[in-house]
């Protein structure tokens, strides 16, 4: 047996022993996702047990090094773990912007001290992070952002406003783009880290068309951000005034993450599930709806192969560096189409906004939520611009 097969069989037994049956069900409600943080509570014992087993094994962040709370898995092993988890439908034990966003940035740009402290906190689900990027006047044109940090020697005094801060009202800390030099657009931004309980920070949830409020406005009013949290733990990532490098790197990561939402081996095709659903309400799929579902399934399954190819190429250092933009574009457009088809299949039942049958309007609220997919993290139009410029090398793009 090869090492990898050995690892697969060990992983399979470990999952069998440690992943409770309740954690092998699809995520249905918001509290089915465990986000960690100072104020986190578990929905039930199964969620707690599954999280703790993974935390202790390093499986909340399997490919991070062991000294930072991960399991130090090689890419091929991490792939095996993903495959084995997906085989039994295991839920992610811990979700967080620390895992998806800040962690990768620290692994790339952080000091040893920052990695020791922040990565371990993230891996152990102790601190929940949010991301402060967009501002009311700076959406697609992010680099025009104005939130300003005045240099006061050992700290900055930050004033300004962020928008679309995901779950800022639940977050413990924020990683935040702050302008520290007004003269230089690209080389005048610092990637700061600070506690959301700092004096002067306030948040206000934004009510969306889905009726939910996953995003906030975040206000900073004379917030003191220290330049250092102790030896080798700066209060910023990378270099002062070079935060845009970190942000760009992270936008790439975010695009990968969002693009992944359209993939996933088990959820890619929906036609069969839609036929079952139609059967439950005594309906049959209209032939033209069935045809659209079939065309969707072709695109979704093909994109699943693309996602796998993309991941394999990334790991091997092949593939175009701007490819995440393509993945993000296609993945989000597919996800929007998926929910349009789910609404069409659901018919009038899917219109119910407040009913028990729909779990409080899930189909329609989720459908509306997906409309943000092609806006957040770079709009589809921006993605197409980037593909034109960086991959196709079209003139003047």
């Amino acid at each position: 047996m090869s090492d990898l097969e050995q690892f697969r069989s060990e992983t399979r037994s470990w999952l069998e022993a440690n992943c409770p049956p309740e954690m092998r069900e699809p995520v249905r409600d918001d509290d089915d996702t465990y986000w960690g943080g100072r104020n986190a509570t578990f929905k039930n014992d199964a969620q707690k047990a599954w999280f703790e087993a993974c935390r202790d094994k390093g499986y909340t962040v399997p490919s991070w090094p062991k000294e930072y709370g991960g399991a130090g898995l090689a890419p091929a092993e991490a792939k095996v773990l993903r495959e084995e988890m997906s085989r039994i439908n295991a839920r992610p034990p811990l979700s967080s912007f620390g895992i998806w966003m800040l962690g990768p940035a620290l692994l790339q740009f952080g000091t040893e001290g920052q990695k020791q402290r922040f990565l371990n906190e993230i891996a152990r689900g102790e601190i929940r992070w949010c991301q402060g990027y967009s501002e009311p006047g700076s959406g697609s044109d992010l680099v025009s952002m104005q939130t300003f940090g005045e240099d006061k020697g050992d700290h900055w005094v930050v004033n300004g406003q962020k928008i679309w801060t995901s779950y800022a009202n639940h977050a413990d800390w924020i990683f935040c783009l702050v302008r520290t030099n007004k003269e230089d657009k690209y080389h005048g931004i610092t990637f700061m880290l600070f506690d959301m309980t700092s004096e002067g920070v306030s948040t206000k949830p934004i009510l969306l068309i889905s009726g939910n409020s996953p995003f906030c406005e975040t206000f900073m009013d004379d917030v003191k951000v220290p330049k250092s949290y102790g030896e080798d733990v700066p209060g910023y990532v990378g270099t002062i005034n070079r935060g845009w490098d970190v942000a760009k790197y992270l936008l790439g990561h975010e695009r990968e993450m969002i693009s992944g939402m359209g993939g996933g081996d088990r959820t890619a095709a929906i036609g069969a599930a839609m036929q079952r659903q139609a059967g439950k309400t005594g309906d049959e799929l209209d032939p033209l709806l069935r045809a659209d579902l079939a065309m969707f399934d072709v695109d979704a399954l093909a994109f699943t192969a693309m996602s796998e190819k993309f991941m394999d190429e990334m790991k091997a250092g092949k593939g175009h560096p701007a490819q995440p933009n393509m993945m993000k574009y296609v993945g989000t457009e597919l996800n929007k189409r998926r929910h349009e088809l789910m609404m069409s299949t659901g018919g009038t039942q899917a219109l119910e906004w407040e009913s028990e049958t729909t779990g409080g309007g899930k189909p329609s609220r989720n459908w509306l939520r997906t409309k943000a997919n092609s806006i957040e993290g770079g709009t589809s139009e921006v993605m197409l611009n980037v593909i034109s410029k960086r991959i196709l090398e079209l003139p003047g793009a």
Partner: protein, 379 residues
């Protein structure tokens, strides 16, 4: 297995890319033979060269004189055939017929495979009977007669039917027209008595035949595999042929796309390069995405088929449908973005449009395969 070519495959791709670009290009072959009204629709010299390169016997086992490679490798050659619009019997002979003959008795293998591998003989396949690909329904009949069979019926869309030495024919030996069982595959010499070939040139300049069988007498040893047991072999041929056609389609799509991107980087209107216009940039970027995804679906299906996975058939239909859509988009956007000259015979982009149309139809179009994806998924 990662979803990209390993070192050996990458080396093969380099070889195939330069070989097809130099020896199989549009000027030397597609235009050359078309403009001379060549009734074969391809050049036998190139077929022989492809044999010398080892391409012809890629899917034939080493024991039978081939290279014993898989569909990823065959797809590498096919992509370059697609990119250069190279007319050749590779898909019908080296992919479809070779897959059938791999299931044949050692006697039949010994009789036919050497000629195929050497590039001395050409094979065609006779499956379709109606204008659309409906392999579930086979009405062409082979009735027992003495020690052999008597073949009656008609086949259409037999590519290279008039220039091939042999045809692999799917016929019904028992049961009703729509039965799964009761199919038998035969290796039939093209000039067997009672056979007639009505050859027509297709939109992509390929030659195909409507072939009639009027009491064609066949020996018992013309049977490939078992009598009444041809469905499994036919399915293997279809799997190989469909994923092969998809790979060729990826070549057509990327050839058309690259040519178009190059063009909009050179063509000036309103005092600027038309590639500067966002209206074209976004469409080009969308096209790029579709072609990349079609390529990924194709290599995934190739790997699943080579690995004997039960998911291969589903993914083959995904790939065939996706490639048809992506390549269709590539050629349509190609002609549109070329503007007026895209409509001229002088420019190659129109040739890509014609080839795409014929290739998409071959062994099932996007509608056929999307429907099949639905059926295989249980709806």
């Amino acid at each position: 297995m990662p979803l990209f070519h390993d070192d050996d495959q990458a080396m093969l791709a380099d070889t195939a890319t330069s070989f097809m670009a130099e020896e199989g290009n549009i000027a030397k072959h597609l235009r050359h033979w078309r403009d001379r009204d060549c009734k074969d629709g391809f050049g036998h010299g190139l077929w022989k060269q492809m044999a010398e390169m080892g391409f012809t016997g890629m899917l034939v086992s080493e024991d039978d004189g081939g290279l014993g490679m898989g569909h990823v490798e065959a797809g590498i050659v096919l992509e370059q055939i697609g990119r250069n619009l190279t007319p050749s019997p590779f898909l019908t002979s080296s992919v479809l017929a070779a897959t059938a003959l791999n299931h044949a008795s050692s006697d039949l293998k010994g009789r036919y495979l050497p000629g195929l591998v050497e590039g001395d003989s050409v094979f065609a396949v006779a499956i379709d009977e109606t204008a659309k690909h409906r392999p579930d329904r086979i009405t062409c009949k082979a009735e027992k007669s003495g020690n052999g069979f008597k073949l009656n019926g008609a086949k259409s869309f037999v590519i290279h039917g008039a220039s091939a030495d042999m045809l692999v024919v799917a016929a019904r030996t028992s049961g009703a027209d729509d039965d799964e069982d009761g199919i038998t595959l035969f290796a039939v010499p093209k000039d067997a008595s009672g056979m007639s070939h009505d050859a027509v040139r297709l939109v992509d300049s390929a030659m195909a035949t409507h072939t009639r069988f009027d009491g064609v007498e066949l020996d018992g040893d013309a049977v490939i595999g078992e009598v009444d047991g041809g469905r499994a072999i036919l399915n293997a041929m279809l799997n190989a042929g469909r994923i092969g056609a998809a790979a060729e389609g990826v070549g057509v799509a990327s050839g058309a796309m690259d040519m178009t991107i190059d063009y909009i980087k050179q063509r000036k209107q309103f005092g600027r390069l038309i590639g500067e216009f966002q209206a074209l940039q976004h469409r080009a970027a969308h096209l790029y995405s579709e072609v990349e995804i079609a390529r990924a679906a194709t290599i995934k299906a190739q790997q699943l088929l080579d690995g004997g996975s039960e998911r291969a058939e589903l993914m083959i239909s995904v790939a065939k449908a996706k490639v048809a859509k992506a390549a269709g988009l590539a050629v349509k956007e190609g002609v549109q973005m070329h503007g007026g000259i895209g409509m001229t015979d002088e420019y190659d982009i129109g040739l890509y449009m014609k080839r795409d149309r014929a290739l998409a139809e071959f062994l099932g179009d996007a509608y056929f395969h999307a429907n099949r994806v639905a059926q295989l998924s249980g709806y």
